[in-house]
């Protein structure tokens, strides 16, 4: 272990990504929940540092499974997955929390803790890593103003609109300065105007060097933000428009 930029303890491997080595690599990955149907079928994908990737596909195509495999919530039946320099097949259970700290995760249903206010929800990720109170105050204020919620720190999730809740979710994902952000339909429960703002925020974060993987089924968004698009269908990658990433 060593201290990262923010005085945050992250496992050393996370920093040992060599230049050109993918942030995310799927190598012949197949995932089956029950007998028969493949949620993912022989998926081979490389996502490099600094990329912004949309993952699209119909409902049931395997997009959420893709995200769950990245965050090691699920394990593949066959194939290997590498994320942030970790080999997920070889990872021990007790390393999972440290691995998760190397990424920020945004969910469609926000996943805010209802009994905590905005400040505490965002601060939680810092408390987990043992940051000091001063550090927590400073960082949370900074990230909340970044998502334009500086004035709502004392509000509880139920008092916020969908768009505001998702910005809190985004703030929480950003608080540890992760090298990677994964988002599963972050605009799914947010009105269209706010959707654009959230994707704008993600692109802004991406501009500062963070790799972003965002699942969506909103085609208009994908068209407007001309980026790399990975398309899934019945668990297979049917299109991977790398050109988008070149801009």
């Amino acid at each position: 272990m060593h201290k990262g930029k923010q005085g945050i303890i992250i496992r050393k491997e996370a920093f040992e990504l060599e230049m050109g080595q993918p942030v995310i690599e799927f190598d012949g990955v197949t995932k089956t929940y029950q007998k028969g149907m493949h949620a993912l079928n022989d998926v081979n994908i490389k996502i490099h540092k600094g990329e912004f990737v949309f993952v699209v596909g119909r409902s049931g195509a395997g997009k959420s499974t893709f995200i769950k495999l990245i965050m090691r919530e699920e394990t593949p039946n066959t194939g290997d997955i590498y994320v942030n320099g970790y080999n997920l097949s070889k990872m021990r259970r007790r390393d999972i929390p440290y691995f998760r700290r190397s990424m920020g995760i945004v969910f469609q249903d926000f996943r805010l803790i209802p009994t905590m206010n905005v400040f505490d929800n965002v601060a939680f990720s810092l408390r987990v890593v043992g940051a000091s109170n001063r550090e927590i105050k400073r960082r949370v204020a900074q990230v909340l103003s970044m998502v334009d919620l500086g004035s709502r720190a004392r509000a509880y999730p139920r008092e916020l609109s969908g768009g505001e809740q998702q910005r809190v979710g985004l703030a929480r994902a950003l608080i540890n300065n992760p090298a990677l952000i994964i988002a599963d339909e972050p605009t799914g429960n947010v009105d269209p105007n706010m959707s654009y703002e959230i994707v704008e925020l993600l692109t802004e974060i991406n501009r500062r060097g963070t790799t972003v993987v965002m699942v969506t089924h909103e085609h208009q968004l994908v068209r407007d933000f001309n980026r790399r698009v990975i398309m899934l269908e019945n668990g297979r990658v049917v299109a991977d428009n790398l050109e988008g990433a070149m801009e």
């Binding site: 769950k68 965050m71 090691r72 919530e73 699920e74 259970r93 007790r94 999972i96 929390p97 440290y98 691995f99 998760r100 700290r101 995760i105 969910f107 249903d109 996943r111 805010l112 803790i113 209802p114 009994t115 939680f124 990720s125 408390r127 987990v128 890593v129 043992g130 000091s132 929480r172 540890n176």
Partner: protein, 304 residues
Amino acid sequence: MRSFRYLVKEGFKNVWSNRLMSVASIGVLVAVMVLIGAAILLSVNVDMMLNTLQEQNVVMVYTVDKATEAQAREAFSKVQKISNVASAEFVTQEDGVKSLINDMGDQYKELFEFVDDGDQKGSWLPFGMRVSFKDLKKFDETISEIKKIENIDHVNDQRELTAKIVNIRNLVNSAGLIIIGLLFITALVIIANTIKITMHTRKLEISIMKAVGATNHFIRTPFVIEGILLGLISAIISTLATYGLYTVVANKVTSMSVSVVPFMSVLWIVIGVFLVLGVITGCIGSIISIGKYLRKEGSEFRAF
């Protein structure tokens, strides 16, 4: 550890934000503890009563008929020296006659007037000793030790009564222990289930915490603190409740001129047992109930 203070605070907050469950847990724990307290107090009182009975439990030792007073007194001093003898009292022949008359009733008094005593009243009687024992479990050994002494003829023991006392005491003690054990397990199961119910509503919260990289230890600590806190609160309430109930019962019983052990003399035992019990059930209960959720990696949580 820096985050420990935060985790303790979260534990306290949990007790409050799940106050319905907290009250239910405390209610169950208090009920169990008061029962355990009753078992302890009952056993302590039975013990005291048996002790009193035991102290009153004397055996009569008699010398051989032909023994002189000097020989009898020598035997007496040997009896006194036996380690398990608590007290011994020499009974002269004259006293013997008196207690005999006393036992048989005054109408026989004249009968004894006709008995030829010679110059010493009751000289036809053996000398006696009233002996009480320290430890009734060594009753048989002590009796045979006494019988070995020169000029001792026989011992008028109340073997059955003694055995009964020892039996009752053993019964009360082991029944008490079994009851306490069963209640303890009951408390553990109920507390684990109570916390499990709150855990069920909090599993989303746990999955979120895991998603942002909280270790199991970090997630578990507030729950354990919560459990311990519930245990401590229950222990305090139980002590007061036990005290109140005991005072009421003791007053009733004392008015029937039966003496009871004062609560204050067992206060620390009761508090100690309650505290240990509360902390252990709270601790183990919360660890048991959260364990299942900590083993999951998130997706199994989801109902959406």
